[in-house]
């Protein structure tokens, strides 16, 4: 390798300096965030199309969702975004212990989010509010509605894809906890923590759109 021994070991050989490496990672991450927005964008379009096709059905079917659990999950996820920011702030301030604590808190909030989601899903599975052909719920409150299975198809696909992102985020945060505890991430080099932080805020942001679209309106 052609870089000399004085450069820090986290600097990859094809970069000039730490700043270039950091700026490149940040640009790459934002480009990735753009692809995520477009992936969910397709589903948001599907939501809008079917909402305009079946406005009454959407208004009726959303009453079947549990607003309290949805609201609790919103609070949990926003709080996890806060702890994520604090983790990055702490490591910038050379407080590795606080950073580690905040990362563990973020991980636990994410776990709590998935736990609540599990309770919601399992209730829906029990009563047959399932996507597509598997839909079987025939309660009186929606008896007059057309094609309620489409609402639940879109609900499960969007929240499911979002849940998958939460699970992936948990894996990444777990790795951050490991790397911070080992001291691989420190006040001089915390790029991965900042990047995963950006990803985590995106996950949070998507939920902030999903919650009102499915639970409130």
């Amino acid at each position: 390798m052609s870089h000399d021994n004085s450069s820090p070991k986290f600097l990859q050989h094809h970069f000039h300096d730490v700043e270039q490496q950091y700026e490149t990672a940040k640009l790459g991450m934002w480009a990735f965030i753009l692809t995520e927005v477009l992936t969910f964008g397709g589903l948001f379009v599907a939501y809008v199309v079917y909402r305009s096709w079946y406005p009454e059905m959407f208004v009726g079917a959303n009453l079947l969702l549990d607003v309290n659990k949805g609201l609790l999950n919103t609070i949990v996820l926003i709080t996890s975004s806060l702890t994520m920011v604090l983790a990055v702030w702490a490591i910038q301030k050379k407080n590795q212990k606080l950073s580690l604590f905040m990362l563990i808190a973020t991980f636990l909030f994410a776990f709590m989010f998935l736990g609540i989601k599990y309770l919601e899903y399992s209730h829906k599975f029990e009563v047959g509010q399932l996507p597509g052909e598997y839909y079987s719920y025939m309660g009186p409150e929606i008896a007059h509605l057309n094609n309620p299975h489409i609402f639940f198809s879109i609900y499960f696909i969007m929240t499911g894809l979002h849940g998958l992102h939460v699970a992936i985020g948990m894996g990444l945060i777990a790795w951050l906890i490991y790397a911070t505890a080992k001291g691989n991430l420190n006040s001089e080099y915390y790029t991965p923590m900042e990047m995963i932080g950006i990803f985590w805020h995106l996950v949070d942001l998507i939920w902030i759109y999903l919650f009102p679209l499915f639970y409130l309106i």
Binding site: A31, T39, G42, N146, N147
Partner: protein, 540 residues
């Protein structure tokens, strides 16, 4: 120094694992090239099989079901496994860091990962073929694709997976172009191939996620009957077409923009003249990338659109012709009063100008609503598409391969054979596809294994020339490979065409494992043939 000169990325380091786990963009590019050529061959064999069946009107060789499988696989393999990854994945990977003076792309591990994701996607497609194929056509239109009993799921899974490879390559290239340039290499001093890759990458990261999610919805529609695309369950099959073309029309520009980039390199170098209208070419790339997102509806004129949307989509479609025309004229003016030499890469570039112009102009025909309703789903569309994709992209790819072969492999192919093959490709291509314009105008529908007697003569003619076309491409690839034989190495300082970009002036052929012995210092612009003299050097 002498020791260093012998060291190049092909021979150092050694061993099969040093290739499979390489982070070197040049080796990853070669692996893409290898994969791409294999699928090019496979897709080509399927095409020749179809032409054989179509040589005479009846069911002569294959059943209708087999024929349906053949055209589906031909389209899907050529588009998703060859054309989309070939130029950015192979030539782009090899050349981009060299052109920027960088040691590697921004994220080398991600680069290797995208190659393996491509391989996994290719395995899904292979599985589809050996388990009985798929018969929906490469567009997978619902509701047929949700009811067909053929293997739609593995095929669309494969496309979903390959999409990620495409996204990651685009993302990597964008970060590379923004952040990995050497000091002094400003945007307007970039080679135009880099601009083309930049435009392509933007489309890759913005359009591909939409096809990925569409494929997921299609798979879920088949598995769970989610009712989004299936009209029997309250869904809308036309929504599928909107989603599909929202990606697949920009994808046409993912396929053609890199080809424009190659032509923008070949023409000034082989005309020994400064490129005419550098900024015009650069910005027309970006405007094509942008307009490409606004025209998807022109694929759906017969799918039940409102007249208003038809007019709007038709109108915006015409706009694509403007930046494209700007490019064609700029290339022609670059050649004007230049010292044009008819080398194999230049012959391909000239073929491109001729064929792509026909492809582009017939695209304007199809963008007109009234004409499109007559020509929709006929051989006119088939011919137009092949004039753009094969006459455009694949011809440019072959030209680029011949242009940068001495750079990337350090050997020179037989130029006479290459030129004759180029002529064969040009004649074979026109012989195959020009009659298809006439067939389409007379009403021959696409995707049929049999046809009416009145079309027999033109079909027969088309089939005959497709043989010449296939043979010419095959020999030209063999000619390239034959140059790799022993004791055929060029002198590492060779710059056979007198190129002025960094990959020609500042590194050896084939390049050093770390691209440059030391970081290059920019001395002149990419096409300053009016200021600096770079003589072609060709030594064994």
């Amino acid at each position: 120094m002498a020791e260093n000169q012998k060291q190049n990325y092909l021979t150092h380091p050694k061993g099969i694992m040093s290739w499979l786990l390489t982070l070197d963009h040049k080796r990853i590019g070669l692996m893409y090239l290898f994969g791409g050529i294999i699928f090019f061959f496979l897709g080509g064999v399927l095409a020749l099989g179809m032409r054989l069946e179509l040589a005479a009107p009846g069911n002569d060789f294959v059943s209708n079901d087999t024929y349906n499988n053949m055209y589906t696989l031909h389209g899907a393999i050529m588009i998703f496994l060859f054309i989309i990854p070939a130029i950015p994945g192979a030539l782009g990977n090899i050349l981009l860091p060299l052109m920027l003076g960088a040691k590697d792309v921004a994220f080398p591990r991600l680069n290797l990962a995208s190659f393996y994701i491509y391989t996994i996607g290719a395995l899904f497609v292979m599985y589809t073929i050996i388990s009985g194929g798929v018969d929906t056509g490469w567009t997978f239109y619902t509701p047929y694709s949700t009811t067909s009993t053929s293997n739609v799921i593995p095929m669309t899974m494969g496309i979903f997976v390959i999409g990620f490879s495409s996204i990651l390559t685009g993302l990597n290239f964008i970060a590379t172009i923004h952040k990995m340039r050497i000091p002094g290499l400003t945007w307007y001093k970039l080679p135009l191939f880099v601009w083309a890759l930049y435009g392509t990458s933007l489309v890759q990261i913005t359009a591909t996620p939409v096809i990925a999610i569409t494929m997921v919805l299609l798979i879920l529609e088949r598995l769970l009957g989610i009712g989004i695309f299936d009209p029997a369950l309250g869904g809308d099959p036309v929504l599928y077409q909107h989603f599909f073309w929202f990606y697949s029309h920009p994808a046409v520009y993912i396929m053609i923009l890199p080809a424009f980039g190659i032509i923008s390199e070949i023409i000034p170098v082989h005309s020994r003249k400064k490129v005419w209208g550098y900024k015009f070419i650069a910005f027309s790339t970006l405007s094509i990338a942008f307009i490409g997102f606004l025209v998807w509806g022109h694929h759906m004129f017969t799918s039940g659109q409102s007249v208003f949307s038809q007019i709007v989509f038709s109108f915006i479609t015409y706009f694509v012709g403007i930046p494209t025309g700007v490019k064609i004229f700029s290339w022609m003016l670059t050649m004007y009063k230049g010292q044009v030499s008819f080398t194999p890469p230049m012959l391909y570039a000239l073929s491109f100008l001729f064929l792509f112009t026909i492809g582009g102009l017939t695209g304007i025909f199809l963008g007109a609503v009234a004409l499109d309703i007559h020509l929709h789903d006929t051989y006119f569309v088939v011919a137009h598409f092949h004039y753009v994709m094969q006459g455009g992209t694949i011809i440019a790819f072959l030209g680029g391969l011949h242009h940068w072969w001495p750079k990337s492999m350090g050997t020179m192919y037989n130029q006479t054979v290459a030129s004759i093959c180029c002529l064969g490709v040009f004649l074979g291509f026109n012989g195959t596809f020009f009659p298809q314009f006439l067939l389409g105008l007379r009403g021959m529908p696409r995707r049929y294994a049999t046809y009416d007697q009145q079309f027999a003569e033109l079909h027969n003619y088309s089939s005959f020339w497709s043989g010449i076309l296939g043979l010419s491409i095959f020999i030209s690839i063999m000619n390239l490979l034959w140059s790799l034989r022993k004791n055929n190495k060029l002198d590492p300082g060779t710059n056979p065409w007198g190129g002025m970009t960094l990959e020609w002036t500042h590194t050896t052929s084939p390049p050093h494992p770390h691209n440059f012995e030391e970081e290059p210092v920019l001395e002149h612009g990419p096409y300053d043939y009016d200021k600096v003299i770079v003589e072609p050097t060709f030594k064994k």
